[in-house]
Symmetry: C2
Subunit: 501 residues, 2 copies
């Protein structure tokens, strides 16, 4: 029997996927649990990836006419009560502020004091507080549309937190728009879904399916919720971003009214849409392997790490000079309107340990440069999405000339690999037996494309014991009708069923 190849992450994906995920987060130094239940600390490498995501998303929001603003962290309890479905959806996970100071408790410690007249909720989402402001800002059709986005932290008390994927506090952006017509609001909802899909596929290299949520999976208070769903390497689905058409539900609850061009009073039509730090979890579970994270080049905090190799002080100064001039040359190359990001890692650390740190963190391109490479004016190159031992000598000038195409190739290769997995793990399923087999505990699972005739207890009877949910009704041009295997009803098209995060 061949020996198992040694991997940097233990256990491997195959051995224990959930634990592998935790170990990648640790090995790539992305985040850590904190002493505050359910809250994480995002460490510098993890934050730099999120910063890259923010920059790319923010550019796209601005290019589609949105502006940023900021609304309060706290929401008065009475605001949440205004939209019935909304409060129902969030009441069980609200952090509640009840006091505004601390005083000595007489036993050498402190206790809360200064009770608030009305409790404040730490925002789980901001529809209600933002809507209250929009009600003041909107008087006439001339005040519409309002196209605002907010970058913020939100809190939803989680009983089973999981770093990046499900944390009590998380960071996100939430777009909130108000429009004069239903058509325009729906157009906005779908436009932002497209922005998310473009970002996921072209920046994160993570293929997604755009679709509408089934009614039971809608955002609390929405008329319709759209989603992008990605497949992780364990074949489970991750809801990676959502865009909600809120109709007039919130505008009626909050009195967002305007005079139309015919001087009639109407309620505005609103939308909201968001993605969060959960995307970092999605990035890991899409691209990481048994040696750690692999950063898609467009989100890599560093594109190239240069590791100088030397045995003595003489060699050190010669090698470092060479590395610095190469680093400068690479930094002058433009990659997507920015510079190629290069780091020279000259820490006093064993070469092997250093190399493995960068592999685990997923830096796309790794150069090792010693006196012999300098003599031949070449570099020793490792590409992170290829095996850790596949390295090759490349003439320096050739490497510099090709660095952006290498990065582009790797970006594409990551996308292709993820798409291949998804394609292989997606099956059209037409019978209940096949459905149950597909999602059996010992089966690999995946996305089941199955006909569906609408919400029904008969669907739940099958999918709930399997821990499967309808992920989305894909937005496709030519839906093919069929028969729902759960109910026998007519079905307009196949929808995606999967286990999920």
């Amino acid at each position: 029997m061949a020996a198992k190849p040694k991997t940097a992450i233990s256990p491997t994906r195959e051995e224990n996927y959930p634990e592998w995920y935790q170990q990648v987060v640790k090995a790539a130094d992305l985040a850590e649990t904190s002493p505050v239940r359910g809250c994480m600390v995002i460490k510098p490498w993890g934050w730099a990836i999120w910063e890259g995501m923010q920059r790319e998303l923010d550019d796209r929001f601005k290019a589609t006419g949105h502006v940023n603003a900021y609304f309060p962290l706290f929401i008065p309890m009475s605001f949440l009560e205004k939209e019935a479905a909304h409060v129902e959806g969030f009441a069980k996970e609200c952090a509640v502020v009840t006091h505004h100071r601390l005083e000595p408790d007489g036993k050498g410690g402190l206790q809360p004091a200064g009770k608030l007249e009305e409790p404040l909720i730490v925002r789980p989402t901001s529809e209600t507080i933002i809507g209250d402001m929009y009600a003041k800002w909107v008087q006439s059709y001339r005040d519409l549309p309002i196209l605002i986005n907010q970058w913020a932290n939100v809190v939803r008390w989680e009983l089973r937190p999981r770093v990046f994927l499900r944390t009590a506090e998380f960071l996100w952006q939430e777009g909130h728009t108000a429009h004069a017509t239903s058509e325009e609001a729906i157009e906005e909802t779908l436009k932002m879904l497209d922005v998310y899909a473009d970002f996921a596929e072209n920046v994160m290299a993570m293929p997604v399916i755009k679709g509408e949520k089934t009614p039971d999976e809608r955002f609390p208070g929405a008329v319709s919720t759209y989603t992008i769903e990605a497949m992780m390497q364990d074949r489970k689905a991750l809801q990676a971003g959502t865009s909600h058409f809120l109709g007039q539900n919130f505008s009626k609850a909050q009195e967002i009214k305007f005079q139309n061009q015919h001087e009639q009073e109407e309620y505005a039509w609103t939308t909201s849409w968001g993605v969060s730090t959960r995307l970092v979890g999605g990035l890991i579970m899409t691209h990481a392997d048994d040696d750690g994270l692999i950063c898609p080049p467009r989100l890599a905090p560093k594109h190239v790490v240069i590791i100088p190799i030397y045995r003595n002080e003489d060699e050190r100064s010669q090698v470092l000079d060479y590395c610095r001039s190469l680093s400068q040359e690479l930094s002058d190359v433009r990659y997507y309107e920015e510079r190629v990001r290069v780091e020279i890692d000259d820490r006093d650390l064993r070469g092997g340990e250093k190399v493995w740190q960068h592999i685990k963190k997923g830096v796309p391109l790794r150069l090792e440069i010693g006196p012999r490479d300098i003599a031949s004016d070449s570099v020793f190159l490792g590409r992170r999405d290829q095996g850790p031992k596949e390295k090759s000598g490349v003439p320096r000038a050739e490497f510099v000339a090709n660095v952006t195409s290498l990065l582009d190739e790797m970006q594409q290769a990551l996308f292709d690999r993820a798409l291949k997995l998804r394609t292989e793990a997606t099956r059209e399923i037409d019978t209940l037996d096949d459905f149950r087999d597909f999602f059996a505990d010992d089966a690999p699972g995946g996305f089941a494309m199955t006909h569906w005739g609408g919400l029904d207890e008969k669907v739940d009877e099958v999918i709930k014991p399997l821990k499967v949910t309808p992920r989305c009704i894909p937005l496709i041009d030519d839906p093919e009708p069929g028969t729902c295997p759960f109910t026998g009803r007519e079905s307009k098209q196949r929808i995606v069923f999967a286990k999920s995060y």
Copy 2:
């Protein structure tokens, strides 16, 4: 008697400075009070200014070797208790989370439920939660220094909130660093003070005095606090940024220990430093005039606004074409590594109203372009820091060629004007009578440069009734000793006394 010139802001600075400030915030559409006591809504124009500040500061933090990370919003109550001076300083203004869900109250409303075992404090600052993590991360001198910054929201319950200047929730950055030696930590503290001063003077065009706080004005728990102090147009001081040398106070309270090179255990030396959305208030009070805000070009969300002037559809399309090509040409000009930011304001609004909106928002350069200007290939230019009626015709090519130098000139002119005010309103004061006269209710006030022999009741007896505080002990190369007029003690140098925000 000459008629008072009409101004866009009423009251004027002279008539009622505090109310003028509120009216500028409103007229420039920067922010608004929210239904949550003490919390503000930062509107898109105000947010864009803060975004510019964040970008400029973040670049400087990274250039000085810092990385960003993110720590939890909540701090367990027991963490605050660890550093005695720290909890003393913040206990009276803490928002306290005591419950984690809501339940029906039986009267159709909701009530807090799920009481937490230990109350959580919404961070008023993050030394304690960040220090707790550092204690885990630091083992050896090789783990030092840690140079981390966080962009975050913080909450300090305010009884007398004032938009941007003093709000219950505000946004800021907080740097937290840990070092192996006292010298290195002090160097870091002063380096970041320099970064703040550079940013304030060269980006905000706001002259500042760098200095050390007197002991009674230190950050709770700090060994020494450094500050940049700016003079507002009402001659009061604004503390615009602070940098704290924390010594080993926090590391001892939180057990941040490391093995030094001689294998001895030592406590780390820590620093923290921050600036906040308060800077937007400082920007307003430094540069705005009786017509509204004036944005220093380096922070202006738009550098140039183009207002097309036309009377009919034929003219409209001709004028708009011209404006678009000019806008494109201007956008291709680089200004501080970015593009010149141009907006064409083609809203369906009276020309005069439109012009005044941009004046009130403080856009640096305003172009009005109609058919006659096009015929002579020139533009009608208004520079915001000059009077609203001072406009001039400039050949288009000349304007495009000169746009960056115009912006630079305006940036410098704003700084010069602010420095001139400060210079005129700063006086060396040597007697108590002069001191009392300088700060009398009906006197203009300003910065009193006065000798000071250390903390003493006799100082407080004079300054407290005048509502004056010591602002800082300026960091200067050649301090001149003298005699403290309050106590008769020896004084090493003059320090700054002023009324303040």
